[in-house]
């Protein structure tokens, strides 16, 4: 016996489900595409979203899709159309549609009986008229794939900012950069405040020293070492780094001005030397505060001793005020970003590493490893301040020679020792590509065969290590670095 009511119920249920599925799929696909776009934008630095927000971006299409499915399932299905479609697929001569019409209008049982008697016995394969096709699962599958892609972007792929923050290894550095970094002019380098700072903080996970044998690993430690007491700064907060950089610049400026003030008082000088003016001019571009900049410009240009002192006092006062402000700001940043125990553990592990001696190591072909520091004869214009490693903006990736606090001029320094050979082995075959030395060791004029000579100014190094510009946590790393490259030091 044909049961129209049951058929209509079943048809309507299935139609609602399918329609819900299709619309939910469309919503999921659109939402998935949007989520993928947002996560990609975040990944490539166009947006900056926190991880919970990214999770929400991914979860929202799922939620909307589910809501759509539930809402559409509750809406009424167009039964006449569906029945006509089923009639056409099954070839039932529009009898189901006519039965529905009779049911809607009531009466005329005689026609209902006659129609039902013409329907095939048994259950109708009516689902053939409402098949689940690509239009139903296609958008759903597409949306799912897009969301999976978004998840992968959030979960696994490294951010470009991470890559930038990672230390530049010797292999990734171009020869020109390496040479330029090694050929920092001594006369100008110490006076550049931005070059006196430690390298910006990166992520310690990028500085994992697998077997701590190579010089590059030590360099990685240096790159990954935090500048503030071993605390690991969050990579998601570049403003923290910026604050630190500014703080250090301000600190250097404050020291310089203080030193100038002392010298002016002690030496009873009438004005600034050309070198001091030059140093101040070089610092000007980094001064963001207009008042301070004006004060420094006045100081540089001033020739009258009285006015000079006034400008100096004004500049010093402004610098100190700025230093205090930046210190507060830095404290706030540090309060916000606390290192996780894992990060601290990594940091400590990195600092506890002891480099092995390299006295016995020589390259396979006897080539000395000091190659590339200064001796290749190419691009040896040491006074070229515009070359890589000297640009004032490019303080993160290269540093030239580190600054020497307290007015210690590198030209006045004498080397504490002069090793003749620096036999070392880097890499499996002894290859030694150029790499960034972060300002040390300093290069002095070679007295014998500059290719075979490698001079380290230990006084300067000690000054750097003991100076307050290098955080205590980094000092060990720096020490190990020099121990590594000089077979244990003097």
């Amino acid at each position: 016996m044909f049961n129209l009511s049951r058929l209509l119920d079943a048809v309507e249920r299935r139609a609602r489900r399918l329609r819900g599925l299709r619309l939910a799929g469309v919503v999921l696909a659109v939402g998935g595409a949007a989520a993928l776009a947002i996560t990609a934008a975040d990944r490539f630095g166009l947006l900056s979203l926190h991880r919970p927000a990214l999770g929400g971006v991914i979860a929202l299409p799922l939620f909307c899709s589910l809501v759509t499915f539930l809402c559409v399932r509750r809406s009424k299905a167009p039964l006449p159309q569906l029945l006509l479609r089923i009639d056409q697929v099954l070839g039932t001569s529009e009898r189901l549609s006519a039965l529905h019409e009779l049911r809607q209008r009531g009466g005329r049982d005689v026609f209902r009986r006659r129609i039902e008697s013409r329907l095939p016995d048994g259950s109708l394969p009516w689902k053939q008229g409402l098949p689940v096709g690509p239009s139903h699962w296609g958008p759903l599958a597409a949306g799912g794939l897009l969301l999976v892609g978004a998840c992968l972007l959030v979960g696994f792929a490294p951010r470009p900012s991470d890559v930038v923050a990672a230390p530049l290894s010797a292999q990734t550095r171009t020869p020109t950069e390496g040479r330029a970094a090694a050929m920092v002019p001594e006369s100008t380098a110490p006076t550049l405040p931005q070059q006196t700072q430690a390298p910006p903080t990166g992520r310690l996970e990028h500085a994992e020293p697998p077997p701590p044998e190579s010089l590059e690993d030590v360099l990685s430690d240096i790159w990954g070492t935090p500048t503030t007491g071993g605390a690991v700064l969050s990579e998601a907060n570049p403003s923290c780094e910026l604050v630190e950089q500014q703080q250090q610049r301000t600190q250097a400026l404050e020291e310089l001005l203080s030193r100038l003030e002392e010298q002016l008082q002690q030496d009873q000088r009438e004005g600034l030397t050309e070198e001091e003016r030059h140093t101040l001019r070089q610092m000007l571009p980094d001064v963001t505060d207009p008042q301070l900049r004006q004060a420094l410009e006045n100081l540089v240009e001033e020739t009258d001793p009285e006015a000079l002192r006034e400008h100096l006092e004004q500049a010093l006062g402004l610098t100190r005020a700025m230093a205090r402000s930046q210190a507060d700001q830095s404290a706030e940043q540090q309060e916000k970003i606390r290192p996780t125990p894992e990060d601290v553990e990594k940091s400590e592990a990195a600092l506890d590493w002891t480099p092995p001696g390299t006295q016995e190591e020589t390259t396979a072909d006897g080539e000395q490893t000091a190659r590339g520091t200064a001796g290749e004869g190419e691009d040896d214009d040491a006074s070229d301040q515009s070359g890589p490693g000297h640009g004032e903006e490019d303080i993160d990736s290269r540093g030239g020679t580190d600054g020497i606090p307290g007015g210690a001029s590198p030209t006045e320094q004498q080397p504490g020792f002069v090793p003749t050979d620096l036999a070392a082995k880097v890499g499996s075959k002894g290859e030694f590509n150029e790499f960034l030395t972060k300002g040390v060791p300093l290069e002095l004029d070679a007295s014998q065969g500059e290719e075979d000579l490698y001079v380290v100014d230990y006084e300067t190094l000690r000054a750097i290590l003991e100076g307050r510009l290098l955080p205590p946590a980094s000092q060990d790393v720096v020490k190990r670095y020099f121990e590594t490259i000089t077979r244990g030091g003097p």
Binding site: L83, L84, S97, H100, E101, Q104, R114, I115
Partner: protein, 327 residues
């Protein structure tokens, strides 16, 4: 309240009627079907074909098979409306003269308007009221026509000299228009045999009464048609309109006026009658398709371009049918 017996009786009556007609008419199944559909739907039928194809014979056979009155009006250019609907004439009764209405040939159950396009439009228009309202107004008096009433008109599509094309208003009053085609060889041989042997062609005896026809009409109107099929019919009719968004390109190009709402009525009623004749219990898509062309072909008016390029309305309708989706 219709019962199974009513349906079966009506279908049996029309089976007998079809058999009787086919005993005389060879071939022409679509035309016979259209004739019976018009009879079942309380409509009128326009038969179009060249002379000698049996149009008049078909109508005479139908009239003979029905136990109903039959009139034949031969339309000529000098035919007057009064010749069709009748007129008041002076009669003398007991020495008193008075006007008495003398009914015309329209007062029959089956009226054959032979070569209807030969009469003037004025005379043609005399049929309008009778065809639609089943009444005739003469002077100040309106007379009702007896049911069942059907006008079966014939016209020659070729010989156009001295003819007056039917006005659109009158054409629209024909439920269907059936084209009578030339018979095939076998049919031709059969026709020749039937007309040349023994006593020649013999019209059938009545097999259906007027009451039975009216009962069948009631049954047909009760036939169920799905809502979506009704909507489909509406879309089909609208698709013949050149200014409709869903119109086929050829319709837009060559049609001046599309089908009227009467076309939709004719389609649905015709489909119901077709389903009835086919022994079905409901209207199918096939029923609509069967009556689509005869119900619309005379209601779609070509524009000058269509006429000039010799576009066939049947071809346009075929395109409309093809392009209009059921769902």
């Amino acid at each position: 309240m219709i019962t199974d017996k009513d349906i079966e009786t009506a279908q049996a009556v029309f089976e007998r009627l079809q058999t009787a007609i086919r005993s005389v008419i060879v071939g022409h199944d679509p035309v016979i079907e259209a004739t019976l559909i018009a009879l079942l739907c309380r409509g009128n039928l326009l038969l179009e074909g060249v002379p000698g194809l049996g149009k008049t014979l078909l109508v005479r056979t139908l009239a003979s098979a029905l136990d109903l009155s039959f009139s034949r009006i031969q339309f000529t250019p000098d035919l007057m409306p009064a010749d069709i609907v009748g007129t008041d004439i002076i009669t003398e009764d007991d020495g008193k003269r008075q006007f008495t209405y003398s009914p015309g040939p329209i007062f029959s159950n089956v009226v054959l308007a032979d070569e209807i396009n030969r009469a003037t439009p004025k005379t043609q228009s005399a049929l309008l009221e009778a065809m639609e309202e089943r009444t005739v107004t003469v002077g100040k008096t309106t007379y009702s026509l007896e049911e069942p009433f059907i006008v079966l008109a014939t016209q020659n599509p070729i010989e156009m000299e001295g003819t007056y094309p039917l006005p659109e208003a009158q054409v629209d009053r024909f439920l269907l228009k059936a084209s009578v085609g030339f018979p095939s060889l076998d049919e031709l041989v059969d026709i020749a045999e039937r007309n040349t042997e023994k006593d020649g062609l013999r019209l059938p005896d009545p097999v259906a009464t007027g009451e039975e026809i009216l009962a069948a009409r009631s049954v047909v109107r009760e036939f169920p048609i799905a809502e979506e099929l009704r909507r489909y019919v509406g879309r089909l009719v609208l698709a013949t309109h050149p200014r409709n968004a869903d119109a086929a390109p050829k319709v837009t190009q060559f049609v001046e006026y599309g089908a009227s709402p009467r076309a939709a009525i004719a389609l649905i009623l015709g489909a119901k009658a077709h389903a009835f004749l086919a022994g079905e219990a409901n209207v199918r898509l096939a029923d609509i398709e069967a009556v689509f062309r005869p119900a619309l072909v005379h209601r779609v008016i070509l524009n000058f371009k269509g006429e000039a390029e010799g576009i066939e309305v049947s071809d346009l309708l075929a395109e409309v049918w093809k392009q209009t989706a059921v769902i």
